[in-house]
Every structure is written in structure tokens, then in C-alpha cells.
């Protein structure tokens, strides 16, 4: 297997998926201990892992997995009950497999310890079930391997040996299909076998011997006495249902996990990113083309330009979908986290998830993982009470943590809700005062007080458990979310629970914006923030010199003159416009000189040298090749407020 690094890499990826599937199966199993389908699923994955692990030289992994497989085999046969303890041990064993898979030799002691625990749990669990007495049955098995079986690494001798383990057997090889020597291809398999087996094992186990090749081969298993095998059967009878489909077994398993069916291709994420960049530049080039075409009298040019516009739009939409991943992939890893936390804290926790099918850009998902882990840990560690405390408070003993995702406009909203004790305002205030974040007895609104927990270095936990202290504070959570152009909201009722909601844009690469002109510069306002546009009448403009707000359907909306904020030094246009934007909690009007139109743009990050400029979240290249800056609404409003405060002070 030297020089086969690529194959090994592929194995690693597949093994990681298998481990994922095993983990999910185990977690489901801990809730529904009797579910046969789940037991089978876990067993099958373990079996595949062992088999292909050995094939690619991961011997330690294979032999370790073998023991878990054996244990699960017993569960499958009903000899052993899948007790919560057993599931926990196998979960831990699964982590060890991950280490072994990583290439590290792994700690032998850990492995031994796990196996010892496994043995004990199996012994305990088997006491409660007891093996079912089974009579030996006589089976007749006829099988023919596909001609290319040997080339694909299948060893008939190993199959026969495995069958011998099931019971006494008599093997007869049928060599009638072997061609004369000059027509014989040395590495093809011409032999079929007839095996008579005396065994107390069920039929499924015999089928399992052929697990890896069952889709390609011809196999017939007959129980003696039920029906005599007709002589014609020696010419081999097809396996019912799957008629020698060319799909290898592992693919088959994969498509099972994708209920939608269809084939899938694994592509490195960087290639997708490259493609995205190209598409982005294509969109820019296309809009330049359409500008030229619009100015040209040539009808052919216009037709071509329109075609290209349509194509590049479709291409971009397809591209966006390619990068979308259901948020369920992110949620699923929390089940393990909650399982472990419940064990460590002694709390009884139920995690419910909603909206797993909600699709979000891959990058967003990756970057959200850590903050979400932190938030869920916080909910469980600080929010949920112990069962005793919950009983005293008159709540059900099992605490609820809910993870939900849903689309809202161009954003996805992810909420983490718990029904714990809520945030203790008194403690937040005391802590903030102790740390000098606020002056003692400062007047704060409830929201302001809650926002304090996002300050760097803030923690209300009085005792530090091993759950906290991963170096990720709430301030990091907030920063990460803001870096994704998202926002974070927190509501909490004492004794009832807390809810954290993250609003994140669907994608980081492309933004729907409103292109406006202020002075000589053009700017993009994210369309997701825009509520409406209206004209600022001259008289209103004159009148509102002293007070910067307009009345909009009986509510007051303060506004900022971008011309003044950006110090353009130009005269205002005669007909200025107000773009009303929402910053989540409030509405603010932005006075611009002209609204050019909506504009879908590829976001380019600002360079390091402009990191300190908070008013802009990025830049984009317009159709004519010029650069327009994208406004960062929350920061812009903040800057405006500061500027006004300074003016007030000066005046």
C-alpha cells in the first residue's frame, strides 16, 4: 500500500463519516435502546470501519474496532441489551478510534482500559437478556463471485474461512465454468461454490459474510427442509432485489444516508472558493459589458450582452447553492456535546433541534461552530439548574435546550433557548461594578445590563467548572458573530430561561445592496437593512437643521447626513433622499444625494490598513471599474452618535 497516500486520505474521510454515523446512531440508541434499525446501522458502520481499516493498514484501528463490533454483534443478536452505560463506553471507544484514525498510535492504556470497561458492560448487560436458544439449521449456500472480484481485492478463501466460523461446513467448488487454458484470464474468478453449513446463526449473519460484495455477486441461501434446491439453481440464481448493481457496497451505504438519492462528488472547499472568485469577477466584467452594450446602437451586441447577463446570473445562483450546507450538520454535533455535559454535570438535559434543513453558506457554518458550542455550554452550565433545584422550582426535572434555525429575509436566525434559571441581573451588575465596567448604581436599561456579559473578561459563573474556561468568552462570541456581519440578541426572564438569537447573513461572498451617491462617492447600503426610501423635502431639510429627525407615519425617525459624516465638502443635491435603515432595535434615516438603484455585488474585504475604519464592512467593484464602499450600518450609526455627542459638547 505504499505510495497510496491518496487512497488513504479518502479512507480517512470516509472513516470520519462512518465514525460520525456511529456516533449519531449511538446517541439515538441511548434514547431508543430497543431500536433494531439503529443497532444494525451502528454494527454495519463498525464492520465497514474494521474491514476497510485493515485494508489500508490501520491495524490498530481495525483490531480495536473489532472488539466494539463484537460487542455490538451481541446486541444485534439480542444476547445483550444496549444499556446506557454500554452506549457510553462505545461512544468513548469511538473517540479512541478517531485518535487511532488520526495516525497517532494512541495511548495503549486508554485502549485497554476502554476494552476492559466494554467487557464489563457487556457482561452486565448480557445478564439481563440471556441468549436465545437456537437449534442448528442446515443451510445450503450457493455463490458465484463477479469475474473481477479478485482484481478488486476480494479473497474467496477469506469468505470461506469466515463461513467456517459460523459452524460446520462442507465446501464444494464448481469449476465447470473455468475455460480452457488458452482462454483463461489469470486474474478473473471462474469458480462458484456450494456450501452446506450447519449453524445456529440466523440467515442475516450468513449474508454478512458477503457484506462487501453482496451487490455484485450471485448468492443464494436456502434452508434445508424449507425447499429443496432445484438442479437448475446450480447455474446460479440472482439475488432478489438488487440485481448485480455495479455500485460498490460503501457507496450504497452512503446513498442510504442521503435520502434524496442521486450521486454526489466530494470537492475540496478551496476549489469552490476559487470558482466563487471567478464567478465574482465574471459578474463584474458582465456588468461592464452590459453598460457598453446599453450605450451602443448595435442590436447584436445587446442581444449577446443580455444572454451573458442571464447566464452569469444563473451561474452565480448555482454557485451560491453549491456552497450552501444544511445547518443540521452543525446541530448534529451538539447532541454529543449535550450528552457529555449531562453526564459531567449530573443534570438531566433534553436537546431539541428545529429547522435543520435551513441552508447556510459553508463558511458561515464553520465560523459559527465555536460560538454556538460556547453558547450551548453556557446555557447548560450556567442556565440549567440541577434536577433537585428544578424540582424545588416546580419545573420538570429534565431541562430543555432548544436549537432552532430559520430563514428571515436574507438572514438566518439561530436561536438557543433554555428553560433554566435565567440571567441573574444582580450578579451581572455586581460583577460589572467589581470589574469597573460600570460605575456603581449606574442607571442602565435591562438590555444594556444584559449586553454587559458580552464585555471582554466577563463571567458570572462563581465557580469555574471544567466546562467553562476554554478561552472563548462571550465577547469572542459577539466578535465572531459581528465579523460575519451578524448580530446577537439576548433575552432572559429570571426563573423562566434565556434565549440567545444570532442573526447571520446567508452568505459572506455576495451582498444585495442599494447603490447610493453621497457627494462624489458611491456607496452600497446592505439591502437587508433597508426599510424604505423617501425624499427629504427642501423645507424639511432647512427646518431640521437643529433637530435631525423626520416624522414617518407618526413615528419619529432620527437621521444622519452622510455628507456631513463623510466630510465630502460638497453642496447637497436639490432633492436629497432619506434611506431608512434598521439596526435591529431602532430605525435611522441616512440622508444621501441620490439613490442609484439596487445592486448585487461581490464583497471584497478591506485591507489591513483600513481595519480601523469601522464605518465600512467592505468594498465592491462597480460596473465601470470604480470601487464603492459598503456601509456597516451598526457601526456607522454608532460613529454618527459619537460625532453628534462631540458636537453637543462643543456647542
Amino acid at each position: 500500500m505504499t505510495g497510496n497516500t491518496e487512497a488513504i486520505e479518502t479512507f480517512r474521510v470516509e472513516a470520519a463519516e462512518l465514525l460520525e454515523r456511529i456516533e449519531q446512531g449511538l446517541l439515538d440508541l441511548s434514547r431508543k435502546p430497543g431500536d433494531r434499525a439503529l443497532v444494525d446501522e451502528v454494527f454495519r458502520s463498525l464492520h465497514t470501519l474494521k474491514g476497510s481499516g485493515a485494508m489500508f493498514g490501520f491495524d490498530a484501528l481495525a483490531s480495536f474496532t473489532h472488539h466494539c463490533e463484537t460487542a455490538f454483534d451481541k446486541v444485534r443478536k439480542g444476547e445483550v441489551v444496549a444499556t446506557p452505560n454500554l452506549v457510553s463506553v462505545v461512544l468513548a471507544a469511538q473517540d479512541h478510534m478517531r485518535t487511532l484514525l488520526g495516525g497517532g498510535a494512541g495511548d495503549d492504556a486508554v485502549g485497554k482500559d476502554l476494552l476492559g470497561r466494554l467487557e464489563r458492560e457487556v457482561a452486565i448487560a448480557s445478564g439481563s437478556a440471556g441468549p436465545e436458544p437456537a437449534d442448528k439449521t442446515e443451510w445450503t449456500i450457493l455463490f458465484t463471485l463477479p469475474p473481477n472480484a479478485l482484481v478488486n481485492g476480494c479473497n474467496p478463501l477469506a469468505l470461506l474461512a469466515e463461513m467456517r466460523e459460523l459452524g460446520d461446513c462442507t465446501v464444494i467448488a464448481d469449476v465447470s465454468d473455468v475455460p480452457p487454458l488458452d482462454a483463461l484470464v489469470a486474474n478473473e474468478c471462474y469458480v462458484s461454490w456450494r456450501v452446506t453449513l450447519h449453524s445456529d446463526r440466523p440467515r442475516t449473519e450468513i449474508e454478512d459474510v458477503f457484506m462487501f460484495i453482496i451487490d455484485d455477486m450471485k448468492l443464494e441461501i436456502q434452508q434445508a427442509g424449507s425447499k429443496a434446491i432445484e438442479p437448475a439453481a446450480s447455474t446460479a440464481v440472482d439475488v432478489p432485489a438488487e440485481v448485480s448493481s455495479p455500485v460498490p457496497a460503501s457507496r450504497q451505504a452512503e446513498s442510504r444516508s442521503l435520502p434524496k438519492g442521486g450521486e454526489s462528488v466530494r470537492v475540496p472547499a478551496e476549489r469552490l472558493d476559487e470558482l466563487m472568485d471567478r464567478v465574482g469577477e465574471l459578474v463584474i466584467a458582465q456588468s461592464r459589458l452590459s453598460q457598453i452594450a446599453a450605450a451602443s446602437p448595435d442590436l447584436n451586441l445587446r442581444a449577446v450582452s443580455e444572454d451573458i447577463e442571464r447566464l452569469s446570473n444563473e451561474l452565480r445562483n448555482t454557485m451560491m447553492v453549491l456552497r450552501m450546507v444544511p445547518v443540521g450538520t452543525l446541530f448534529s454535533r451538539f447532541r454529543r456535546l449535550v450528552h457529555d455535559l449531562a453526564r459531567d454535570t449530573g443534570k438531566s438535559i433534553e436537546l431539541t433541534t428545529e429547522g435543520e434543513a435551513t441552508e447556510v453558506d459553508k463558511t458561515v457554518i464553520e465560523r459559527l461552530a465555536d460560538p454556538l458550542v460556547h453558547l450551548v455550554r453556557n446555557s447548560i452550565d450556567h442556565g440549567l439548574e440541577t434536577p433537585d433545584q428544578r424540582k424545588t422550582a416546580g419545573k420538570p426535572e429534565t431541562g430543555q435546550v432548544r436549537l432552532a434555525a430559520q430563514h428571515a429575509g436574507g438572514e438566518v436566525v439561530i436561536t438557543i433557548t433554555d428553560d433554566g434559571r435565567g440571567i441573574d441581573r444582580g450578579r451581572v451588575r455586581a460583577k460589572a461594578e467589581a470589574q469597573g465596567l460600570i460605575v456603581p448604581n449606574a442607571q442602565l436599561s435591562d438590555q444594556e445590563l444584559l449586553q454587559l456579559i458580552f464585555q471582554p473578561g466577563f463571567s458570572t459563573a462563581q465557580t469555574i467548572t471544567n466546562l467553562s474556561g476554554r478561552g472563548v468568552g462571550m465577547d469572542v462570541v459577539k466578535r465572531t458573530v459581528e465579523a460575519l456581519r451578524g448580530s446577537i440578541d439576548l433575552t432572559s426572564k429570571p426563573g423562566v430561561g434565556s434565549e440567545v438569537s444570532l442573526r447571520i447573513p446567508l452568505t459572506l461572498a455576495i451582498i444585495d445592496g442599494l447603490l447610493v451617491r453621497v457627494g462624489k462617492g458611491r456607496y452600497v447600503i446592505p439591502l437587508s437593512a433597508v426599510e424604505e426610501c423617501l425624499e427629504l423635502p427642501v423645507e424639511q431639510d432647512m427646518r431640521s437643521r437643529g433637530r435631525s429627525f423626520i416624522s414617518l407615519r407618526d413615528s419619529l425617525v432620527p437621521f444622519l447626513r452622510l455628507r456631513e459624516l463623510f466630510q465630502t465638502g460638497t453642496e447637497p443635491d436639490r432633492y436629497q433622499k432619506v434611506v431608512v435603515v434598521s439596526t435591529g432595535s431602532e430605525r435611522v434615516g441616512l440622508v444621501v444625494d441620490q439613490i442609484i438603484g439596487d445592486h448585487q455585488t461581490v464583497i471584497k474585504a478591506m485591507s489591513k490598513l483600513h481595519e480601523d475604519v469601522a464605518m465600512f464592512s467592505g468594498a465592491t467593484i462597480l460596473g465601470d471599474g470604480a470601487v464603492a464602499l459598503i456601509l456597516d450600518i451598526p457601526h456607522l450609526v454608532e460613529t454618527g452618535q459619537n460625532q453628534e455627542a462631540q458636537l453637543r459638547k462643543a456647542g
Binding site: F566, Q567, T568, S607, K608, A626
Partner: protein, 158 residues
């Protein structure tokens, strides 16, 4: 370090400055500059460089010079510089680009402690060439994040 250094020389308000040729990526004609409100005057704008948005710096301001009007000789020199571990493209506004040449480093001198109105940390060294001095600016200290607190008005608008 060898005694010779290949550089690109350019004019800035009557002075001759030089950049290591190895960091120069492209010499562009003046293009549309987008002013970034709120940014320091030294890097007060951004430009489109091959589909990327890169900052445009006015070295004039680092050396206390006035930014002259755009002339037929004005060029943007695009360099690639490592800042805090990441390679960043930066456009430098120049009054005129001269030539790629070799400087004899045996004739270099450290920036004098007096007799110079420039911030000494911005000058790597002076190299005598002919009867003139060529200034090698220390781009890393000029663009060190947070150092350019020159502030001032945004006069550098093209």
C-alpha cells in the same frame, strides 16, 4: 546582504525615492480613486487593482510633503508588503516613475539625526548616487498598523 540592491526609483515632490524592485508588482496609470471617509490621510483611498480592492497610500504625507496635482507623469506603483504576517497589496502614489537601477550599498548612510525634517524611523537609509541622495523609505514602519496618526484633512483627493 550584498553590496548591490536593485531598486525602482521615483519622484516625490522633488525628492528621489527608491523601492526594492522585488516588492514592486505593477506600475499603473492614475485611476479612479475612492476616498475612504474616516481613514487616515496616509491611506485615504482605495483603488481597483486587477479586480482587487487595495489601499492607495500617499507617501507624500509620511514625509510631510504636499500632494501635488495629478500630472501626465503621475503613476501608481503597486507593491506587495508583508504586514503582520499577511501579504498585502498597496498602491503608492508617485509624481513620476524613473527607472529600475542598481544602488551601491557601500555608499549608504543612516538617516542623519539632525538636518532632516522627516521622521527618522520612516527612512531606512540614504544612498549617494551621482551628486544626489536617494531615499530608501522604511515601508514597514510607515505602514505599521496604528502608527499613521497623521490625521489631517483629505486633501489628497484626485
Amino acid at each position: 546582504m550584498s553590496d548591490e540592491l536593485e531598486v525602482l526609483t521615483f519622484d516625490l515632490h522633488g525628492e528621489t525615492l527608491a523601492l526594492e524592485a522585488s516588492i514592486v508588482r505593477e506600475i499603473m496609470d492614475m485611476t479612479a480613486i475612492t476616498v475612504v471617509p474616516g481613514a487616515s490621510a496616509l491611506v485615504g483611498g482605495v483603488i481597483n487593482f486587477r479586480g482587487k480592492v487595495i489601499p492607495l497610500a500617499n507617501l507624500h504625507l509620511a514625509f510631510g510633503m504636499e500632494v501635488g496635482p495629478t500630472t501626465i507623469d503621475s503613476r501608481i506603483v503597486v507593491i506587495e508588503l508583508e504586514l503582520d504576517g499577511t501579504f498585502t497589496f498597496i498602491g503608492l502614489r508617485t509624481d513620476k516613475v524613473n527607472e529600475v537601477t542598481t544602488l551601491d550599498l557601500t555608499k549608504k548612510e543612516p538617516p542623519p539625526s539632525i538636518g532632516m525634517r522627516w521622521r527618522p524611523e520612516y527612512v531606512k537609509c540614504l544612498v549617494k548616487r551621482g551628486g544626489e541622495f536617494v531615499v530608501l523609505p522604511d515601508l514597514h514602519s510607515i505602514f505599521a498598523v496604528g502608527s499613521h496618526t497623521t490625521g489631517g484633512t483629505l486633501k489628497a483627493v484626485a
